[in-house]
Symmetry: C2
Subunit: 295 residues, 2 copies
């Protein structure tokens, strides 16, 4: 068993991004990311801060827009429109989840597709399905595929099981892995909460992705010897020994599953760090595309 080291791979992606930013800065360009936070959720606040810090490290222009919980849908749409028009901004992200009075889908629709670095706008969803490389793929699935590529895990003709069918992870990951080309051409099965006999399905898999959101969901009996397991789950479990009173675990019962795997991601330090790395990579891509640069 070998660990997939997401922290190291994410650092490699950041390094590539940084080098590329340094290069385009010479021609007076600088990728800009705007992150919009509505309300005071502490976890969201932490995510937003981390994104801004990483932007600073890589030489990005970064804008953090923190709006009160009482911000109306109309006000938020007006902010998005302003960011769409702002030539210094190439990527726009509205931190999820917004307060309940905000219609998140409408906000996502309002973001200019060419600045939708989260890849949630319908234009980008369609581009993923249609295998149009100009689109933005959601950051977590993109990070998952990058891990496979970095570890040289063959996907062409491989049997892949994706647990979960959300539009944030499961479906885009399935579309990505079944599309043509490197890191693709897999035989993908999407399983979900309606699955009976989970083990029958997952034991056939060369590679399993779990994005179900339940701690200890994938257990020893579900995994065949030598499989690759990528754990996308981030779940809180109570733990009085931690100062916060909880710790974060994935979907995988790591202790029993890991010994059977050829490769497995830990939580934390697996998929998690890749998400922000792909976000900044997507923002750089947006900047290049908006300014007509190759690559």
């Amino acid at each position: 068993m070998k660990l997939i080291d997401g922290t190291t791979i994410a650092e490699k992606v950041h390094e590539e991004t940084r080098a590329s930013v340094a290069e385009i800065t010479k021609s007076g360009l600088c990728p800009g990311l705007a992150v919009v936070l509505v309300g005071n959720d502490p976890a969201s606040r932490t995510y937003v801060r981390k994104k801004a810090e990483q932007c600073a490290k890589l030489g990005f222009h970064s804008l953090r827009l923190e709006l009160p919980e009482t911000t109306s849908q109309q006000e938020l749409l007006a902010h998005v429109a302003q960011l769409n028009a702002d030539p210094k901004i190439h990527g726009i992200l509205v931190q999820s989840p917004p307060p309940p009075h905000i219609d998140e889908a409408k906000i996502v629709h309002a973001i200019a597709p060419e600045k939708d670095v989260d890849g949630f706008h319908p234009v980008n969803v369609a581009k993923l399905a249609l295998e149009d490389p100009s689109g933005f793929v959601p950051c977590t699935p993109l990070g998952c595929r990058r891990l496979l590529l970095e570890y040289g895990i063959p996907t062409s003709g491989a049997r892949v099981v994706v647990l979960g069918r959300s539009m944030i992870v499961g479906k885009p990951l399935a579309l990505l892995l079944m599309s043509k080309g490197p890191g693709g051409d897999a035989i993908v099965t999407v399983a979900h909460s309606r699955t009976r006999n989970l083990g029958e399905i997952t034991r056939e898999a060369d590679i399993i992705f779990s994005a179900i959101g339940r701690p200890y969901f994938l257990r020893e009996e579900h995994v065949r010897e030598g499989a690759v397991v990528v754990d996308v789950g981030i779940n809180r479990v109570e733990d009085p020994s931690h100062k916060r009173g909880y710790r974060l675990v994935g979907d995988v019962d790591f202790e029993t599953v890991a010994p059977k795997c050829s490769l497995i991601t830990p939580v934390p330090g697996g998929v998690g760090p890749m998400t922000i790395a792909m976000l900044l990579s997507n923002t750089l891509k947006a900047c290049r595309q908006i300014h007509g640069l190759p690559g």
Copy 2:
């Protein structure tokens, strides 16, 4: 073994559409379908004629626009724009394949999404992935699901294998069957030309859809006893005993596969008739949506 009788089910769908058209006609509405044909391909010409005939039978307003092979991209786009603006037209379809000098994707993009009854416009592709019921699902996948529903074939938790990953059939069918609700909630595997050990995958399936486009592709050894097989392929094989010199067969080696199945579609008379039935059903839906009618 029992045959899935697509001709009878298609007739039932047509009958529902006809009844619904008769109902909305009372309020002065009439669904209108425009079919655009560029060039002289005899098969395309036959398809277009059949669509127009069926429109006439169901009380649709139908427009057939036949353009010379030499029609330019710009001219075709101008025709599409005119149809987009035509209040009598609710569905627009440009018969595939157009001549090689036409960029088919650009034409599809130009069709107003609310009139894209083929379901190929990116807006509708995204709505399918996002499970937005206001979108249009491509007619062949929609017809396939309808066959399952009509025959009471359970899909929730069922193992479904889709052979083929095109945007016309394979991918939309997979998205449809994995989405939530009746005729959905399946555990879907998409296999394709890069699949090794096809039988290992297809023998696990409760339901197999083949949309590969190769005659006699799915054989006895690929199918488990009691499976449901839906053959989406339409392939020409030489046959001197036919006056045209060929006959149409599906992807399935019917003679050896059928005895193992609980249910199987014949070719012709299986999925084929459903496609046009769903096209007219989609056009009726477009008419209702454009005029703000429920359902």
